[in-house]
């Protein structure tokens, strides 16, 4: 197992946020953590990323306990995490300070191409759209060749068309780069479109309500009966009738 959550609990003061989370994520797996807002899913991701220490329990990666942030595991925020004072190149090369110049240039060029930003190498983030900034951030994370990516509602601030495009981009990159991905979202459709498994959390304090395996091969047909059945199952699990 790549990532293992063992009895992870978290409280801020007297507020209980996470309650006894147990979860295992396999190498190369794409896992979505799904839950209503305020259920502690971002907190859970921050604990895995080493930015927060759990009140109880532990997270191990490759059997090694997480005690702080580590460049083998990179956190991707919404597109606001790109550095506005650096160009696209500068951002993507940010974590590559220990490489030689030539190696760095090669790495940057590779990831600029991978996320489809050729021609924008010298642009500043303020000149880019939200979707392009998000690509920069994903490329910046991938460039240091991490083995796990944490994505915290990465497409939450994008419009719905860009969001769909970014999802298929992310899947393409995930298949090309073979990373383990933990992806936090409150969007049921998003989780069923992307994940191998969807971990459904309850409202605060967050507990694992259920883990739903999405046994559909990529590319997924969003109108196939299996897709709709799994989606509705999760809707039901969260207690929503799929009607408005």
């Amino acid at each position: 197992m790549k990532v293992r959550f063992q009895h992870v609990s978290m409280h801020f003061g007297t507020t209980e946020v996470l309650d006894d989370i147990n979860l295992e994520v396999a190498e190369g797996e794409f896992v979505c953590i799904l839950g209503p807002s305020g259920c502690g899913k971002s907190t859970l991701l921050n604990i895995t990323g080493g930015f927060l220490e759990p009140s109880a329990g532990q997270v191990t990666i490759d059997g090694e306990r997480v005690v702080g942030p580590d460049r083998r595991r990179i956190f991707v925020f919404q597109e606001r995490g790109v550095f506005p004072w650096l160009t696209v190149e500068g951002n993507i090369g940010f974590g590559l300070f220990d490489l030689s110049d030539a190696e760095r240039r090669g790495r940057i060029a590779h990831y600029v191409a991978l996320v489809g930003l050729k021609g924008f190498e010298r642009s500043y983030p303020r000149e880019l759209s939200g979707g392009m900034k998000q690509r920069v951030e994903v490329a910046r994370a991938l460039a240091v060749n991490p083995d796990v990516l944490y994505l915290d509602e990465p497409f939450g601030a994008l419009d719905s068309i860009t969001r769909l495009q970014m999802r298929s981009e992310l899947l393409r990159i995930w298949q090309a780069e073979k990373k383990t991905i933990l992806f936090v979202t409150h969007d049921i459709e998003e989780s069923v479109q992307l994940a191998d498994r969807v971990v459904v959390l309850s409202a605060r304090p967050g507990r694992v309500r259920r883990i739903v395996e999405i046994d559909i091969a990529h590319p997924r047909d969003l109108s196939s009966p299996r897709y709709l059945a799994l989606r509705d199952e999760i809707f039901g699990e969260i207690g929503l009738a799929h009607k408005i």
């Binding site: 956190f75 606001r80 995490g81 550095f83």
Partner: protein, 277 residues
């Protein structure tokens, strides 16, 4: 526990916002040149009113614009004009540079380490409202006659604004920039240099410009003591030795015009910094 840069809204900038927006849309020089016409017109009208008022009141004390211009030319002929301007610039430049050298690192530490800020902030807030002029007697005792005393006053005048701007800038860095920096394995000094400094730059630039304004403002007072050159000295000396009010006003105008030029240069640097956030 709040650091604030006061005075950032003190300036009256007619049309400044429209001008900046225009430059963003199409970076042509057209809006800037037309921005010059109105101020020049205002200056011309004022000069006319001034010279008319001197003529009508037939005052013996207050000089006309022409007399002031003649005074400045005289100063140039005596080779004093550029020497005075140079001396003043060197003093302000040195005091201001020293304030930057002390103020930015100090502000950085205060912004970075909250307990340190809690410990030091009351002291800073207590020292800040004391007019730099109040330090004059001490400056003379400590530094005696020569450049060091006025440089010290200018240093004191601009220091606090810079410290507070830097502390503010660092404290207001979006946490995810720092989080990302740590995630990529940066040590604390690297994080300060590669993330905190550029992220705080725009706020610091605003503080630097305001601080420079204050430094230039106390020039006259600073050169009232311990030195016998410079634009501030010119004003005091012209009044004391022979009531040369043409030179008093000439000195005032020189300080104003040079201040304007330096401020507009700083403003450009500030815009450059702001575009990088």
């Amino acid at each position: 526990m709040r650091f604030e840069v006061r005075g950032s809204s003190e300036e009256v900038r007619g049309g400044g916002r429209a001008g900046r927006a225009g430059r963003l849309l199409h970076s042509s020089f057209a809006p800037r040149t037309s921005n010059l016409i109105l101020p020049l017109l205002t200056a011309a009208v004022l000069l006319f009113l001034w010279s008319a008022a001197v003529k009508i009141t037939a005052t013996k004390i207050f000089p006309s614009p022409v007399a002031v211009a003649r005074g400045i030319v005289q100063l140039a002929e005596k080779k004093l004009l550029w020497a005075y301007i140079g001396d003043s610039l060197v003093r302000v430049g040195t005091g201001y540079a020293a304030a930057i050298a002390v103020g930015i690192p100090l502000g950085f530490l205060l912004g970075w380490y909250a307990p340190l800020a809690r410990a030091v902030n009351p002291l800073i807030q207590m020292l800040r409202p004391i007019s730099p002029l109040a330090w004059m007697p001490l400056a003379v005792i400590w530094f005696g006659i020569g450049n060091a005393a006025p440089i010290f006053l200018i240093f004191i005048a601009s220091l606090f604004t810079i410290v507070i701007a830097a502390a503010n800038g660092v404290r207001n860095i979006p946490p995810m920039y720092l989080q990302a920096g740590r995630n990529f394995g940066l040590s604390t000094p690297q994080l300060m240099l590669r993330v905190a400094a550029p992220a705080a730059l725009a706020r610091i630039a605003v503080g630097l410009r305001i601080a420079f304004g204050v430094a230039w403002l106390v020039l006259v007072a600073a050169e009232m003591i311990a030195v016998d050159s410079g634009l501030g000295y010119l004003i005091i000396d012209a009044r004391n030795a022979g009531k040369r009010y043409d030179l008093v006003i000439g000195g005032m105008l020189l300080i104003g015009v040079i201040g304007l030029i330096l401020d507009s240069l700083m403003r450009r640097a500030e815009t450059w910094a702001a575009e990088r956030r």
